[in-house]
Amino acid sequence: MKLVKKILLYEIHNTIRSKWVILYTFFFFLVGYGLFTFSGDVNKAYISLMNIIIIVIPLVSIIFGSIYFYNSREFIEMMLSQPIDRKSLYIGIFLGTAIPLSAGFGIGFSLPFILFGKVSEQIEGFFLLLLIGILLTFVFIALSFLISVKQDDKSKGLGLAILIWLILAVVYDGIVLLVIYYFQDYPLENAMIVLSAFNPIDLGRILFLMKFDIAALMGYTGAVFQRFFGSPLGVIVSIICLLAWIVIPFFLSHRFFKKKDF
């Protein structure tokens, strides 16, 4: 763990200096600032922010993660010739990528709320969105590392990263819609809850909607969803699912990393 800490500190140092993280922070700041300036309504700002978070965070995280891992190959190689175990190094690099990116998002996202004094207006929503953003960052960095550890070819790896994003952000929901249309005669509510657990973006989206866009989601389907996702148990289960989306790719990629040749 000592070693992890050392690597982590260096990685954070290195990542923070990258202009991309600063740009990323600034992006979220500008979006929030703009939304509060032009709309003023916190609830509307929340929905817009959620839309941006569930699209931008996965995309940026998976691409940034891949690029970062490919660019770290030399560093990894050099570090592995030093007395350090692969596990510590890997955890250090993973956290060293995910933490600065999460922090970038967290700061850029929170600042407008603080500046406009909007944190307390919907405090639960603020923290939920912050949590979803950070969890999604970790999920997609974990996925990007899984890709990069397995695929040595940088351009193929990046292509795969974008493909996975596209599948989770767009294609998956298309399939969900097809399921809904084809199986319209069956009670689908519980199946939908299970389906959404297999997509971290959907999970984040639904978790948040249950707190905010509730009115629209009533109806029978909404009621079933609300009963699950709106309950403390549902929130905990959803967060556990999101954590599984971090832990499973991370452990898989860690296993590959341990056997990898440099």
Partner: protein, 236 residues
Amino acid sequence: MITVKNIAKDFGKNKVLKGINLTIDEGKVTAIVGPNGSGKTTLIKTILGLVRPTAGTIEVDGAEVKDDYLYRNKIGYMPQIARYPENLTGSEIISLIKSIRESSFYSDEEMRASFKLDREMEKPFKNLSGGTKQKISALIAFAFNPKIIILDEPTAGLDPISSSYFKDLVLKQKGQKKTIILTSHLMNEVQELSEEIVFLLEGEIKFKGSVKSLLEDKKETKLERAIAELMNQSNN
């Protein structure tokens, strides 16, 4: 002492090392030579643990190194091509390595001066030339005063002045009874620096012995010719 037992490594269908047995003696300079693709770098990386062998074991000072990593405290390594995180500086990397290595010994003033590195150490790597990065690699390999030094094509990117200083450095280490492993394309460099030689061809050891005995055996004064002769022999 480093003992390589039956080491084999496949990259897919490509068998890069085919059962290497090798003992590298303490306090000597051993050169690993061979044509491109003969497996020199793979062998070195296997010793370092960078490459996981398909079969066989490596022992350093009598202990198997499979899942150990602390043995690398004894090793200083200079890779073929020096590449570092772009946004960090040389001194930051060195202080990171310092914090990781057990031994607190570190001395680089002389090397810094001779390589003219003082200023360069504070610049981020993205602003440094390949040669400068190579010099920093040398610093990392030597300055911790390790028992074993592994150098992969060390002089490839260096200018003649640095290159000659570098050779002096190796000879000085040799005088201190360090175990040094070296790969090089330059046979005169090998002849100049090393006592033992291992000739690799297509993943197999074709010759292992002292430089002296090889020259005597082939009745040559230049190592280059002796090696060429070895290669011809093997091809026939």
